[in-house]
């Protein structure tokens, strides 16, 4: 009787042990999938919110081209430079997502030596402009905010207007979002 009781007890413990192992596996898979889906969702939300915020900003009269008081779907490079210089660009984007926002000039193509050169007011006044420089940096995050984070670049073409020469070019708006891997 005593031996039978012992066997019964052992059986019970074995079953409880197996059940705990199965529950552990279940929790592990649930945790693994919920973490990965949360990261993906956060990345997509960051990407979408950065686009939304940026488009809202591009609609501001402070950046958008306007002719005879009617807005046009392009970015005025003179207004863009002024916007950067007034530090108003620091408020572009979201607080939750660390972002780097750069306008790159791609047509007409700047020379190889200058495609990474910032378009400062001096460069923009030079007779070689728009071939004299290659980018306008709207926002750069602090280095400590980008450490140990994965960078994901999203880009969209934009029409750029050069008021000094009354011509249009093509730019690429690059948004780099930094998220945990």
């Amino acid at each position: 009787m005593k031996k039978k009781g012992m066997i019964g007890m052992m059986e019970t413990f074995m079953i409880i042990f197996v059940i705990f192992i199965l529950i552990g596996f279940g929790m592990y898979f649930f945790y693994k999938f919920s973490v990965s889906s949360t990261i993906t969702e956060a990345q997509e939300t960051c990407e979408l919110s950065s686009y939304e915020k940026l488009l809202t900003t591009l609609d501001l009269p402070g950046l958008q081209c306007s002719f005879k008081a009617s807005p046009k779907d392009c970015v005025d490079t003179a207004k863009l430079r002024a916007f950067i210089d007034t530090k108003a660009a620091e408020n572009v984007g979201t607080q939750a997502c660390t972002m780097k926002i750069v306008f790159k000039q791609i047509y007409p193509q700047p020379g190889m030596r200058v495609n990474d050169t910032e378009c400062t007011p001096d460069k923009m006044r030079s007779p070689e402009f728009p071939e004299s420089c290659g980018k306008w940096t709207l926002k750069v995050p602090k280095e400590e905010l980008t450490k140990n984070k994965a960078a994901r670049v999203s880009s969209t073409p934009v029409s750029l207007y050069y008021p000094h020469i009354k011509q249009y070019g093509i730019g690429q708006l690059e948004i780099t979002t930094y998220t945990y891997t």
């Binding site: 019964g8 059986e11 079953i15 197996v18 059940i19 199965l22 529950i23 596996f25 279940g26 898979f29 649930f30 999938f33 919920s34 889906s37 997509e44 990407e47 979408l48 686009y51 488009l55 779907d73 392009c74 791609i106 047509y107 193509q109 999203s154 880009s155 969209t156 073409p157 934009v158 029409s159 750029l160 009354k166 011509q167 249009y168 070019g169 093509i170 730019g171 690429q172």
Partner: protein, 163 residues
């Protein structure tokens, strides 16, 4: 007494089977989640719209933009003392190389761009069999987008295969 013990074992077995089914269910639920969401689609739409706008507005020669050049090409007229259709092709080559770069490589089977004037293709670049190939891919999403220069001048189309 023996029958009672067997009943307990059966319940234990049943609990284990239920747990296994629940774990498999949770795994399938999360593993079969779609990877391509509305975010990516809306971003691609935005990119296509902005690309057409930027390309057609870009100054190509003197004060003429690409839209003017295409209009002249549809009428077989010259622009800036040049053949407008040759200028259109040269400008599109340069613009698309900067905008899409490697994605236009036919070997990658990712992108196809073409311009039609009166239902005739006057310019094409990229992978022309993209539609059939993309639809045959298990996760391939064929995304064409067209822009018409009115009235009935030309139609610009970009087709992408998003995986």
């Amino acid at each position: 007494m023996k029958r009672k013990a067997q009943g307990g074992e059966m319940i234990g077995m049943l609990v284990i089977i239920i747990l296994i089914i629940v774990i498999i269910g949770v795994y399938i639920r999360f593993a079969s989640m779609p990877h391509e969401g509305t975010v990516s689609t809306s971003v691609t739409d935005l990119q296509n719209d902005k690309m057409f706008n930027a390309m057609l507005e870009a100054t190509v020669c003197e004060a003429n933009n690409l839209e003017e050049v295409i209009k002249k090409c549809s009428k077989s007229q010259e622009i800036c003392n040049q053949d407008s259709c040759v200028l259109m092709k040269e400008s599109l080559d340069e613009m698309l190389d900067s905008l899409l770069g490697k994605r236009l490589n036919p070997e990658l089977k990712q992108t196809y761009f073409f311009v039609e004037i009166g239902n005739k293709k006057v310019y094409e670049i990229g992978y022309d069999k993209i539609e059939n190939d993309c639809l045959n891919m298990p996760n391939g999403k064929y995304q064409p987008k067209s822009y018409e220069i009115r009235p009935n001048v030309a139609v610009l189309t970009i087709a992408r295969c998003v995986i």
